[in-house]
C-alpha cells in the first residue's frame, strides 16, 4: 500500500521531535499511549505552547521529555519535581508538566513529590506506573504489587506497594486521578483538566511493561489490557484509601480529588512580599 507523506503524518507530529523517532519504547509498552494522551491533552487545551515545558526524570517514561517538541528538560533520576519547582517559581508564567515513571517519582524522588504537593506548586505531574523499573531490566519498584516476580524479587515481592493517589491526596494535591492506558479518553480528559488546575495536580496512568514485568509474571501484552478492562472499576470521587492496587480484588479508576487552595507562588507573594511591591506589581 502506498502512503503519501501526508498520510503517514501522525496527528501529534507538530508536538513531536519527529527527527528523534523511532523512540526507545518496546512493542506493547504503554508509555507511548500515556504520552500520546498527554500530548493530545496539551494540544487540545489551547494553552500557550511557547510557555509550556515538559520535565522528566530518568527511566523509560523519563524519555518523554526527549520526544516532545516543547522546551523540554531531561534531568537527574528522581529530581524532575524539584527541577520543575525551580522553573515554575523562577517564571510563574510557564505551564510546567512533569512526565515521568513510578520508580523515578516515588522511590528516589518520593520525598520531592510529597513536598511539592504540600507546597501546592503549580505543576501537572503525570506518572506512568508500569509497576517496575523497565529501563534497567525489570526490578521491583515501590509500586510493584505484593507477590509479583521481578529480577530483584525472583520468588515474589515481599513488600506492599504504594497507593499513589492516597499519597498524593494526603500530601495535599488538589487534583488526583487514575486511569489505565486502555482508558485513553478518560486519561486525556484528566490530564487536560489537570493542566488548568492552579496547584499541584497528579494523574496516574497504569501501563503495561510486557518485556520486563509481563514476561516474568505470565502476562502477555493483551492479557494486561484484558485485566485493565475486566478487573478495573470506574468510581469517580472514591475515597483515596480505597485505591490500593490489587487486581484480584479490582482496581479503582477515576477522578478522586478536584479541589482548590492557593498555590505556592500565590501564598509566597501574599505572605512574603512587601505590600508596596505588590501594589506596584498590580499597577504595572
Amino acid at each position: 500500500m502506498n502512503r503519501s507523506d501526508k498520510d503517514s503524518r501522525h496527528p501529534l507530529d507538530d508536538l513531536l521531535r519527529t527527527d528523534r523517532i523511532p523512540h526507545i519504547w518496546c512493542p506493547g509498552c504503554g508509555i507511548g499511549t500515556a504520552f500520546s494522551s498527554c500530548l493530545t491533552a496539551i494540544k487540545e487545551s489551547g494553552i500557550d505552547l511557547k510557555k509550556t515545558v515538559m520535565v522528566s526524570g530518568i527511566g523509560c517514561s523519563g524519555r518523554g521529555a526527549g520526544y516532545v517538541k516543547l522546551d523540554s528538560y531531561h534531568t537527574t533520576h528522581g529530581r524532575a519535581i524539584p527541577f520543575a519547582t525551580g522553573m515554575k517559581l523562577a517564571n510563574p508564567e510557564l505551564n510546567v508538566v512533569v512526565f515521568s515513571g513510578d520508580g523515578d517519582l516515588f522511590a528516589i524522588g518520593g520525598n520531592h513529590f510529597i513536598h511539592a504537593a504540600r507546597r501546592n506548586v503549580d505543576l501537572t505531574v503525570v506518572c506512568v506506573n508500569n509497576f517496575n523499573y523497565g529501563m534497567t531490566g525489570g526490578q521491583a519498584a515501590p509500586t510493584t504489587p505484593h507477590g509479583v516476580k521481578t529480577t530483584t524479587t525472583p520468588v515474589g515481592n515481599p513488600e506492599a506497594p504504594f497507593n499513589l493517589p492516597l499519597l498524593a491526596y494526603a500530601s495535599g494535591a488538589i487534583y488526583v486521578a487514575r486511569w489505565t492506558v486502555l482508558h485513553t479518553r478518560d486519561l486525556t480528559e484528566s490530564i487536560g483538566e489537570a493542566l488548568f488546575k492552579r496547584g499541584f495536580s497528579f494523574v496516574e496512568a497504569l501501563a503495561p511493561c510486557p518485556v520486563n514485568y509481563g514476561r516474568r509474571n505470565r502476562e502477555k501484552p493483551l492479557d494486561t489490557l484484558k485485566i485493565y478492562q475486566d478487573r478495573t472499576i470506574i468510581k469517580n470521587n472514591a475515597h483515596p484509601t480505597e485505591l490500593d492496587v490489587d487486581f484480584d480484588r479490582g482496581v479503582i479508576l477515576g477522578k478522586f480529588i478536584d479541589t482548590e487552595r492557593p498555590c505556592c507562588t500565590e501564598m509566597y507573594d501574599k505572605t512574603c512580599r512587601p505590600r508596596d511591591l505588590l501594589e506596584e506589581g498590580k499597577a504595572a
Binding site: T75, P82, M87
Partner: protein, 381 residues
C-alpha cells in the same frame, strides 16, 4: 535606587556579605536547606529576595535545592544555593547535571570540618578536592576561595559573572571562619558593579542549535518560554541537544565542556601576589588560611626570611602556569591550608620536582596560627 544594591559601609559577616554580593550580581532565586555554618546566607536571602522581586524557597533537602536552582536558571533566573560539607556531598550529582547541560548557577560551600557530620560549627578547608572531582566523570569546574567578608562580597559577583559567561556552575569555597567573621564591608554604588548575563539565543527559532559554540567556545543559551523548543539532557548530547550514545558524541561534547574552561584560563584565574618579587620561599594559600599566611610573611620578613604569598582567589581551574613559572625562580613552596594536603598535592604536581614543597596543614576545627607557618619556614632554612 536599586533595592538590591545596598550601597554603603557596613559591619557584616561573610555569610551576609555573600548574600548581598549575590543580590548585587543579579541573583533572583535561592533554594536551600538549613546547615551550619551556611544557614545565615539562606536566612538573609529569605528576607531580602522578596523585596527585590526574587524568590526564596527552603527545599526538602540539598539534592532538591541544587535541582531547583538549575531549573530556575533554565527558566532565566540567576540562581544560587549555599551549604556546607554534608549538603555539598548531596549536591554532587546535580552539579554534574549543571556542568553537562551548561546551566549557569552558583553554589556556596561554607566549609566545616569533616568527614561526615564532623565539627558542624568549626571551620576547615577539607572539601577542596571534592569541589574539583566530587561529581562523577571527568570535568572542569570553577571554584573561588574568598578571604574576608569584603572579598566574599566581590567574589560572589565574580562567581555569577563567570557562571553566566561560561555557562557553568561556579563554586564559592569559603569556610566557617570567613562565613562567621564580622568585618567592614563596603558595598559600592550600582554603577561600579559590573554584572554580565549569559549569551542570549538569537536567530530563527526552528534552526537554533542549543549547543552550537559561540565566542569563547560557549553556546548562546535559550531560556524556557522563549519559543526555541530546546531539549536539555544530562545524557551525552550533540549540538542540537539530542542524546547521542556514541563514543564520537562523547568526545565532541567533552571537548566542548572542558575546552571552554581550559582555553580561557587567563580570563578565569585570579590570584593575588604579596611580597613575591624577591621571595625565595613562596607560600600558597587561600580562604582564611591566606590571612594566616599574610601575617606569617610579614613576620618572616621581620626576621630576615625572604617569604612571599601567592593567594589563590581561583582555586579551580588551578593556576598551573603561574606555579610552574615560580618553580623555576624560588627555593621552595609552602602550602598553608586547613586539611591534610589537598592543594599542596596540586602544587607538588605543578613543580614537577624542580623545588621542594612543604605543607602546613591541619585536620580542621581551627585556623592555623601564623607561628606554625614561621616554625616551618625556620625548619626549612
Amino acid at each position: 535606587m536599586d533595592p538590591a544594591i545596598r550601597t554603603g559601609e557596613y559591619f557584616m559577616t561573610g555569610d551576609v556579605a555573600c548574600a548581598e554580593g549575590a543580590l548585587a550580581a543579579g541573583c533572583r532565586f535561592f533554594a536551600g536547606y538549613p546547615i551550619t555554618p551556611a544557614t545565615e546566607i539562606a536566612e538573609h536571602m529569605a528576607s531580602r529576595l522578596p523585596e527585590v522581586g526574587g524568590t526564596f524557597i527552603q527545599m526538602e533537602d540539598e539534592i532538591a535545592s541544587m535541582a531547583a536552582i538549575i531549573g530556575a536558571s533554565c527558566a532565566g533566573a540567576k540562581s544560587m544555593t549555599a551549604t556546607s560539607g554534608p549538603g555539598f556531598s548531596l549536591m554532587m550529582e546535580n552539579i554534574g547535571l549543571a556542568i553537562c547541560t551548561e546551566t549557569p548557577c552558583v553554589l556556596v560551600n561554607v566549609q566545616r570540618a569533616g568527614p561526615s557530620t564532623g565539627l558542624p560549627t568549626q571551620g576547615a578547608q577539607g572539601d577542596m578536592m571534592q569541589a574539583r572531582w566530587g561529581t562523577h566523570g571527568h570535568y572542569e569546574i570553577i571554584a573561588l576561595a574568598p578571604s574576608s567578608p569584603q572579598d566574599i562580597f566581590y567574589q560572589t559577583i565574580v562567581a555569577f559573572n563567570l557562571s553566566e559567561v561560561y555557562r557553568s556552575p561556579v563554586l564559592i569555597m569559603t569556610d566557617e571562619m570567613i562565613g562567621h567573621l564580622s568585618e567592614r564591608v563596603i558595598i559600592p554604588p550600582k554603577k561600579q558593579i559590573k554584572t554580565v548575563s549569559r549569551p542570549k539565543a538569537k536567530g530563527r527559532k526552528d534552526r537554533f542549535r542549543p549547543y552550537e559554540p559561540g565566542p569563547k567556545g560557549v553556546a548562546p543559551m535559550a531560556i524556557a518560554g522563549e519559543g526555541y523548543n530546546i531539549h536539555v539532557t544530562g545524557l551525552t548530547h550533540d549540538r542540537r541537544g539530542y542524546p547521542v550514545m556514541t563514543v564520537e558524541a562523547q568526545e565532541e561534547m567533552m571537548s566542548g565542556l572542558t575546552g571552554k574552561i581550559r582555553k580561557n584560563l587567563r580570563d578565569i584565574i585570579r590570584t593575588e601576589a604579596y611580597r613575591l618579587d624577591d621571595a625565595e620561599i613562596v607560600i600558597i594559600s587561600y580562604g582564611v588560611s591566606a590571612r594566616t599566611s599574610l601575617a606569617a610573611v610579614d613576620e618572616a620578613r621581620e626576621q630576615g626570611i625572604k617569604a612571599g604569598l601567592l593567594r589563590l582567589i581561583t582555586v579551580w581551574p588551578f593556576p598551573e602556569d603561574q606555579i610552574r613559572e615560580l618553580a623555576g625562580k624560588i627555593k621552595c613552596f609552602v602550602t598553608v591550608e586547613i586539611n591534610l594536603g589537598q592543594v599542596h598535592l596540586e602544587v607538588e604536581r605543578c613543580t614537577g620536582g624542580k623545588v621542594p614543597t612543604f605543607l602546613v596543614g591541619h585536620p580542621g576545627g581551627t585556623i592555623i596560627p601564623p607561628e606554625r607557618v614561621i616554625d616551618t619556614l625556620k625548619q626549612i632554612l
